[in-house]
């Protein structure tokens, strides 16, 4: 009964007029971000953090965090909707989680069924959003009750598991992914040590005392890195946009896609909850599952509506599911949720089991707003899909310099130092070089966010055990996490040795 009460309170927060506005702006920008190739959900969210931070600066911390998170999360799942639009109409996925949608979606568009594909994608995404929401409501409370019993040793191992999961699945080379993780952890140690108050790696530079700002690095690596890539490598202009005849699906289409939507939603949700496996992986899994269950698998790739309905539901459900480890355990499972977590930390709000006790308005307000946001997306995406399709035609020559200007504004408005602007530019180049050569940058950002917490928990645990490292292996839960972390790294390696192809998660 308590949960329902909390949920009702959450709706009270979400129905405040400014929060409705925030959710609306969030999903609107999110859809645009999803439509525009070149800006993924990760850079979209990162770019908007400073903007929301200033808009909410007059509010009390709790409310401000709730409002910002409502907007930022809206961008995240809004992008999942928007990504499908370009996949279907243009055969170019707006973000990586919509890659499989191109297979059948574009074929449908060529057969004149673009409207059906788009509306089924929207309906599927909406249904998936609701499934993820129910899952969140059901799992949030029990999970955070378990997590509240965690000691420093358990937390250390759990975060290790989170890092291992993201590194194990990110990119082509695990060595590179692990290097990025360790490098991120290193960057996190710069500044004044929270436990002892001793300055580390600061070399008497005052700008370094508070550490490198996570926001600057995230915006630089993702947003600026992508801008630099697009400036350097002029990619081919995309082809013509398919015509949209009718926006409502036929009865037959609805019937054919009901089961894939339900299956995709459930599958996507559970994949989303797992750390490291994000929306991209979920959509791939859903596609192969649908193909397996289909009566005529040979029709896939030729415009089978199940190939649109399943994956599109799955990626949206996964983005909802990814909120669970973030909110209840305080462990982000993907790059985008790491950035959301960074936003929360900026407001001095620590995600994790205590979040539901200390700031119920943030946690439940967000959950409730996801319901409202999904409803808005459904309404927005059905009639307005033609308008969004036009966004693709925004000329790059205006878009790219503006993204640079927005990131400058964002970083400067939060940090007020020129140093951060130069750091931003440096990270942009680094981000471009690294991702061009298959060094995944998502683990770096995740490690940067988790780094200080990992270290503090490790040291707290070791202080309890008088410096004995065996504490991590003797506590049963901690041991389970460590074994899981090792398995996460070893299993893909073993599969590779046996010549199996391993699906990797590339979230950009």
């Amino acid at each position: 009964m308590d949960t329902l009460q909390f949920l009702a309170d959450g709706f009270k927060v979400a129905f405040q007029w400014h929060n409705i506005l925030f959710a609306f702006v969030g999903v609107l920008i999110g859809t645009a971000v999803g439509v525009l190739p070149g800006i993924g959900p990760m850079s979209g969210v990162a770019l908007l953090i400073p903007v929301t931070a200033t808009i909410t600066s007059g509010m009390p911390t709790g409310d401000a965090a709730a409002s910002s998170l409502i907007l930022l999360a809206g961008v995240y799942y809004g992008a999942m909707y928007g990504g499908s639009t370009t996949s279907i109409l243009l055969n170019t996925p707006g973000e990586s989680s919509s890659v499989v949608t191109t297979l059948d979606g574009y074929q449908m568009a060529q057969q004149g069924r673009a409207g059906s594909a788009l509306s089924i994608a929207a309906i599927g995404s909406f249904f998936a959003g609701i499934v993820a929401l129910i899952g969140l409501v059901l799992l949030a409370e029990p999970l955070s009750n378990v997590a509240i019993k965690f000691g420093p040793a358990e937390y250390f191992s759990l975060m290790l598991l989170g890092l291992a999961a993201v590194s194990g699945l990110a990119g082509k080379s695990m060595t590179k992914a692990l290097m990025m993780t360790v490098f991120g952890l290193m960057l996190g140690t710069i500044g004044i040590d929270a436990v002892s108050g001793i300055a580390r790696f600061t070399y008497d530079q005052p700008v370094l005392y508070s550490g490198l700002e996570f926001l600057t690095i995230a915006v630089g690596l993702f947003a600026l890195g992508e801008v630099i890539k697009t400036i350097l490598e002029r990619d081919e202009e995309t082809g013509s946009i398919a015509k949209i005849n009718r926006v409502l699906p036929t009865k037959q289409d609805l019937k054919d896609s009901t089961v894939p939507i339900v299956r995709g939603s459930l599958l996507g949700f559970f994949i989303g909850v797992l750390p490291g496996a994000g929306a991209t992986l979920a959509s791939f899994f859903s596609y192969t599952t649908e193909k397996k269950f289909s009566k005529n698998p040979e029709s896939f790739g030729k415009g089978n509506i199940a190939g649109v309905a399943g994956p599109e539901s799955a990626n949206n459900a996964a983005s909802g599911g990814a909120m669970i480890p973030l909110l209840t355990l305080g462990i982000p499972g993907s790059g985008t949720t790491a950035i959301l977590m960074g936003a929360l930390i900026m407001y001095n709000i620590q995600p994790g089991p205590l979040l539901f006790d200390e700031h119920p308005e943030v946690a439940w307000g967000l959950i409730a707003s996801m319901f409202i946001g999904n409803l808005m997306l459904l309404v927005l995406n059905m009639p307005l899909v033609r308008v969004f399709a036009k966004i693709i035609q925004t000329p790059k020559k205006y878009l790219l310099p503006m993204i640079i200007a927005i990131s400058f504004f964002g970083v400067y408005a939060v940090q007020y130092t020129t140093f951060d602007l130069f750091l931003l530019l440096g990270c942009g180049i680094l981000g471009y070089l690294l991702s061009k050569n298959d060094y995944p940058v998502a683990p770096l950002v995740l490690a940067l966010v988790l780094g200080p917490m990992i270290e503090n928990n490790m040291r707290r645990a070791l202080t309890i055990s008088n410096g004995d490292f065996s504490i991590f292996f003797t506590k049963p839960l901690s041991l389970v996490f460590i074994v899981a972390a090792v398995a996460w790294l070893l299993v893909p390696l073993l599969l590779k040795l046996r010549g199996r192809k391993v699906i990797i998660n590339e979230e950009g």
């Binding site: 290097m179 952890l185 290193m186 002892s196 504004f409 408005a413 020129t418 050569n437 070791l462 410096g467």
Partner: protein, 149 residues
């Protein structure tokens, strides 16, 4: 896979790892009696990064070089825009947000594609003055204002 870049990165990260290991030894021990001071974590990170870098360098000898097709990169455009971005960062506090943003956008738009100067002027002016007005007047934020002559 770019062998040259991987080797270079391997060596670079190896050096970073060594640097971290050496520099972490200079961090003073924590004041209270715990055996795990502030230097343990960075020290181990340094060691792990060194190990991973060595593994990466070793890997570069194993795989065959794939002849990657040379794509033409637009260095000129990039350097102009990046250079003006550096100048933008440098002058932001000196000549104010609105003016520096306007100039940066104008240069960047024209670098991306010559011509249509009027459009470029209008869009950069709208963006820079719009953001400045909205942020510092309406929302009460603070940005470096206009230069005082």
């Amino acid at each position: 896979m770019n062998k040259k870049f991987d080797r270079f990165a391997g060596v670079a990260f190896l050096l970073i790892g060594i640097l971290f290991l050496i520099e972490s030894q200079k961090i003073s021990d924590s004041a209270y009696g715990s055996s795990v001071g502030p230097k343990i974590f960075p020290m181990w990170l340094g060691i792990v990064l060194m190990a991973l870098s060595i593994r990466l360098i070793y890997e570069t000898f194993k795989y065959k070089t794939e002849e990657s097709k040379k794509e033409k990169l637009q260095y000129k455009k990039f350097f102009i825009i990046f250079g003006s971005a550096v100048l933008y960062a440098f002058f932001l506090e000196k000549i104010g947000y609105a003016v520096s943003t306007f100039l940066f956008l104008l240069i960047a738009f024209q670098t991306m594609e010559r011509g249509k100067v009027v459009y470029s002027v209008i869009i950069s002016a709208a963006f820079s003055f719009g953001v400045y007005y909205l942020f510092s007047e309406v929302l009460g934020g603070s940005l470096p204002g206009f230069p005082l002559f």
